[in-house]
């Protein structure tokens, strides 16, 4: 086969441009946020079971506060929330069914960081103080690196992040010395008890639920309890329409 110089140059230019632009274009076309993590930790919160034993909600919150030195700040504008209670109708705004049981509408639901697959807080963080862990999908925080710009608080659609407007130690009655407190000017949130998971323990809120009110597990393991529960019962998530892929599931 013979080829003149002009044709040869054209072909070379085409190959080069494909080489440069090919991968990004492929990424745009094939962007369905593939879950390529080794593990994908998630929680299933059974609202029905929780309502049967309403004291369990406070028990979970208390366990978390104790494990992570979370201060009790009475001022609502400055409070620190990792896991907290909210009425169903406020927690699930997108559930527009008007005629659901009235009791459910007003009943409290436990809310926490959703450890999204596609976390908006991570994309906006200028210092990578928050990031999604490659090994298990937990949205982690590095309080050493947080500069307190609060972009993540603006980005999070679930209100899962709190800013320390004051020294949290002033509002702590007792301190768990195995876990640090935070300092003024830092944002904090639930880390799905990464420090407990590393020791092979369950998250603090899950541990106090003896009756499977909250189930913790790996979604990438088809034989895990969490997958079995999710495949048996219909579950809902908070604001799934935003595309953040929240990983806290609620069974109503």
């Amino acid at each position: 086969m013979t080829m003149d110089r002009r044709k040869f140059l054209k072909l070379t230019a085409l190959a080069t441009s494909l080489g440069i632009a090919g991968k990004p274009i492929y990424n745009i076309i094939a962007n369905d946020t593939p879950n390529n993590l080794k593990k994908r930790y998630a929680l299933v919160i059974n609202i029905e079971k929780m309502l049967a034993k309403p004291e369990i909600l406070d028990k979970c919150i208390k366990a978390c506060k104790k494990a992570h030195n979370i201060p009790d700040i009475p001022n609502k504008k400055k409070e620190i929330k990792w896991i907290w209670k909210e009425q169903f109708k406020h927690a699930f705004l997108e559930q527009e069914n008007e005629h659901i049981p009235e009791s459910l509408k007003l009943s409290p639901v436990l809310l926490l960081c959703n450890h999204c697959d596609n976390p908006p807080c991570v994309s906006v963080c200028p210092t990578q103080a928050t990031w999604k862990r490659n090994e298990d999908g937990i949205v982690m925080m590095d309080w050493h690196r947080c500069i307190g710009c609060r972009y993540c608080m603006a980005a999070c659609p679930y209100g899962s992040r709190s800013f320390n407007f004051m020294n949290p130690r002033l509002h702590l009655k007792e301190i768990n010395s195995n876990f640090p407190t935070r300092t003024k000017g830092v944002v904090e949130k639930c880390t799905l008890c990464d420090e407990r998971i590393a020791e092979g323990k369950l998250p603090a809120c899950v541990e106090v639920c003896c009756n499977d009110e909250i189930i913790f597990g790996d979604l990438n393991d088809p034989n895990s309890k969490i997958r079995k529960v999710l495949s048996k019962t219909y579950s809902i998530r908070r604001k799934p329409e935003l595309g953040t892929q929240p990983e806290i599931y609620y069974i109503v």
Partner: protein, 156 residues
């Protein structure tokens, strides 16, 4: 030189005042407070050599911080094996490992830090578990010193 005598006297007075800190110290020697470190009695072995720890403990702690928080590697390894202290795997943790042996922060950490006038912000968040008074108060250095005084008063 006009007014030579007066100028000379003034210069001498100036030099005397200017150098007064030096010669008052010669006349009345007071030794600067040297750090007095209390080493743990029950433990003999540290995770690294003393000279290395003296010079580089802050770098080591930074390294640990990144390994634990960002890479989720929690236990200290040496030569590919977990490092043991008293038969237990040593965690890369300021409170759980360092403070376990060096349980007297005021007579260990603070001694040199105060002498060199450095205020590491580790303790803004990490808890000195053996000194609850520090914990209740703001962790700023000035407040810590107030605490030390309160402690001493309480002991007396």
């Amino acid at each position: 030189m006009y007014n030579g005598g007066k100028i000379t006297i003034a210069i001498i007075i100036f030099i005397i005042i200017f150098t007064s800190p030096i010669w008052t110290n010669w006349l009345n020697p007071q030794k600067a407070h040297k750090p007095e470190i209390v080493l743990p009695k029950d433990y003999k072995e540290c995770i690294a050599e003393t000279d290395y720890m003296k010079a580089y403990h802050m770098d080591l702690l930074n390294e640990w911080r990144d390994l634990v928080v960002r890479k989720n590697i929690r236990y200290l390894q040496k030569d590919g094996k977990p490092f043991l202290i008293n038969g237990k795997k040593a965690e890369m943790s300021l409170t759980k490992t360092c403070l376990n042996c060096h349980n007297d922060k005021q007579n260990f950490c603070d001694q040199c830090h105060n002498y060199l006038d450095v205020s590491p912000y580790c303790w803004d968040c990490h808890v000195d578990k053996f000194n609850p008074l520090d914990v209740e108060q703001c962790p700023k250095r000035i407040k810590l010193e107030v605490n030390v005084e309160q402690n001493q008063e309480a002991k007396q």
